[in-house]
């Protein structure tokens, strides 16, 4: 069991490094220009010149898949950041102050749970123009309930512990108690929550881009590429294979990494 855990964690770390490396590399180098169209070489199957083939504008799919990595990572990081920030504030306030405020905050969290990223993105896109900013905010909102509940739970558990009571007896104010004594002790479950949310964000970004609610053309995004590829399934099926495989591989790696981190940071869960 131990050994298997090690293997899957190592695999997760390796895939994550490849993902981050590809994203970094794509900022300075891609085999071809990801935006350069070539009318003569449309929808080609994989070849030596184009290892992943070409799309309907003759663009190199490998270069576009590489260039899609930073998009996914950026949306993931910002969305998790938004969800974590809002959720932690909400959780701290409701857990620390308690009473009616807690009750109200938790009903708000229940309500936000009714808005999966797709739904918020639909609503925002009707009000503002669809775009990458909308997917970041919509996905972030979907993470708020989880972060708020984890934080609140940790605060409730810590609130009456001796070190908090001692600090209060020494004259520490609420602000100091929460920021210096409570918050640092909630970090382990919050880090686990963030790592497990990240792959979910990547899946959601791809789905939103596929629906046309997220990243807009000509910007390379894995979900957007799949939307384009769908029209040419009969002519070049490879076009639909590689961007999807990139999503699956990234999510797999990040999930394995998250599971491993949970075992390391939170020994209470089996």
């Amino acid at each position: 069991m131990r050994y298997r855990r090690h293997v899957s964690f190592a695999l997760g770390v390796a895939i994550t490094i490849v993902l981050a490396g590809t994203a970094a590399l794509s900022l300075v180098y891609t085999p071809r220009d990801p935006l350069a169209m070539a009318g003569a070489s449309r929808l080609e199957a994989p070849s030596r010149a184009h290892p992943f083939g070409t799309d309907h504008y003759g663009r190199d799919v490998l270069s576009r898949v590489m260039a899609g990595a930073p998009t996914s990572i950026a949306v993931g990081v910002i969305a998790v950041g938004i969800g974590a920030l809002a959720g932690i504030v909400l959780g701290l306030v409701s857990g620390w102050i308690g009473g009616w405020l807690d009750e109200g905050a938790m009903r708000l969290v229940d309500a936000v749970q009714g808005f999966p990223a797709i739904l918020s993105a639909l609503l925002f896109s009707a009000v503002f123009a669809p775009g990458i900013g909308i997917s970041m905010v919509a996905i972030g909102i979907a993470f708020v309930p989880a972060f708020a509940r984890v934080t609140r739970g940790a605060v409730l558990e810590l609130r009456d512990r001796e070190f908090v009571v001692a600090a209060r007896a020494l004259g520490a104010r609420d602000r100091r108690l929460v920021l210096r004594h409570i918050l640092p002790n909630t970090m382990a479950p919050l880090i686990v929550q963030a790592t497990t949310s990240f792959p979910v964000a990547i899946l959601a970004e791809a789905a939103l881009a596929y629906l046309g609610l997220g990243t807009q053309p000509p910007h390379p995004s894995w979900g957007l590429m799949l939307k384009e590829a769908q029209n040419f399934l009969g002519m070049n099926p490879w076009f639909a294979v590689f961007p999807g495989a990139a999503i699956a591989l990234a999510v797999l790696g990040l999930n394995l990494l998250g599971d491993g981190l949970r075992d390391l940071l939170d020994p209470t869960t089996v």
Partner: protein, 314 residues
């Protein structure tokens, strides 16, 4: 029990109130207002003011909200700009696609995940367990809309067994309808099953460590009977909770898969409304779907209490 139910109902109503307030606030963030949206930016100030007055947009915001909520509660979600039909009726007309799709996917999810999860738990740390866990890990990583595309590639483009999308309605017969929903339901159900397998496995594993399971084994029951009558029955409580939470995910997922398979459901209705700047429809669909998800979560809470007599009020 009664007190618990009353508390949950009160919380549910409060939550619904927040859902409606969130939808209302976001729509009112709109640069300009619904009247500008309908008439376009080139409209004269006079016509704009007239329409605003007619729509009640010149009244205080809180009053508009109460008014809107009161009508929504009675099922009046406004009128579609694009179709000139009541939004409520449009939603009802699309439900016969989205709902069966989500239910079919839910059925697949349970049919795959529960047996596989029980198998993995009863073969803990053996090859079958590892295989099931690897499959579920892969399943969670594959986005449902991509597996939908791959299913189209295999079963429609290559083999020609299914259409690549579209839906003729239920009037063409039950099988014709189910056949149009089968591939998207498989894509959606398989993804969610991958999540549920892990929950089932850990729930059953936990129960198998309990004293009463040892007692059941000690009194000479067959292993099948121990699993069926003692382990699975008790493990069902956490499993049902996860299933309930996944129903909300299934509805969200159905919206995406409707696009992959060109199915005229709620998701397509909302997406089309965005392109047509048909705000009442988007607002209505969002309110309806968010409200349904909140309702499902509420129902799961109640089911939880009914299944587990140990649970009472906090």
């Amino acid at each position: 029990m009664r007190r618990y139910v009353l508390r949950r109902v009160a919380a549910f109503v409060a939550t619904l109130f927040f859902v409606s307030a969130l939808v209302f606030v976001v729509v009112r963030l709109l640069p300009g207002d619904p009247a500008t949206l309908i008439l376009g930016v080139e409209s004269t100030p006079e016509t704009l003011a007239r329409l605003r007055h007619a729509m009640g947009l010149d009244r205080p915001l809180a009053l508009q909200y109460v008014d809107w909520l009161a009508r929504a509660v009675r099922g009046d979600l406004g009128t579609s700009i694009q179709y000139d039909l009541p939004v409520g009726r449009l939603i009802l007309s699309r439900l016969p696609v989205t709902l069966p799709l989500a239910l079919l996917a839910a059925g697949m999810m349970v049919a795959i995940a529960v047996p596989l999860g029980v198998y993995a738990a009863t073969h803990h740390r053996r090859i079958g367990d590892y295989a099931a866990m690897i499959v579920s890990q892969l399943g969670i990583a594959v986005p449902a809309f991509w597996s939908g595309l791959l299913l189209i590639l295999l079963f429609s483009v290559r083999l020609g067994w299914f259409r690549s999308g579209g839906f003729d309605g239920w009037s063409a017969g039950v099988w014709a309808g189910v056949k149009s929903l089968l591939l998207p339901a498989v894509a959606l159900g398989a993804f969610q099953a991958a999540v549920l397998v892990r929950a089932t496995r850990s729930a059953v594993l936990e129960i198998l460590r309990e004293d009463f399971v040892r007692t059941a084994r000690a009194k000479g029951l067959t292993e099948t009977r121990v699993i069926r009558r003692h382990a699975l029955r008790n493990a069902m409580i956490p499993i049902v909770t996860v299933m309930g939470l996944q129903l909300g995910q299934l509805i969200a997922g159905a919206i995406v898969l409707e696009s992959v398979f060109a199915l005229p459901g709620l998701g397509r209705l909302a997406l089309g409304a965005i392109n047509a700047r048909d705000l009442p429809v988007v607002q209505g669909v969002t309110l309806f779907v968010a409200g349904s998800i909140v309702f499902i979560n509420f129902a799961v809470d109640l089911a939880y209490a009914a299944l587990d007599p140990r649970i009472r009020y906090e």
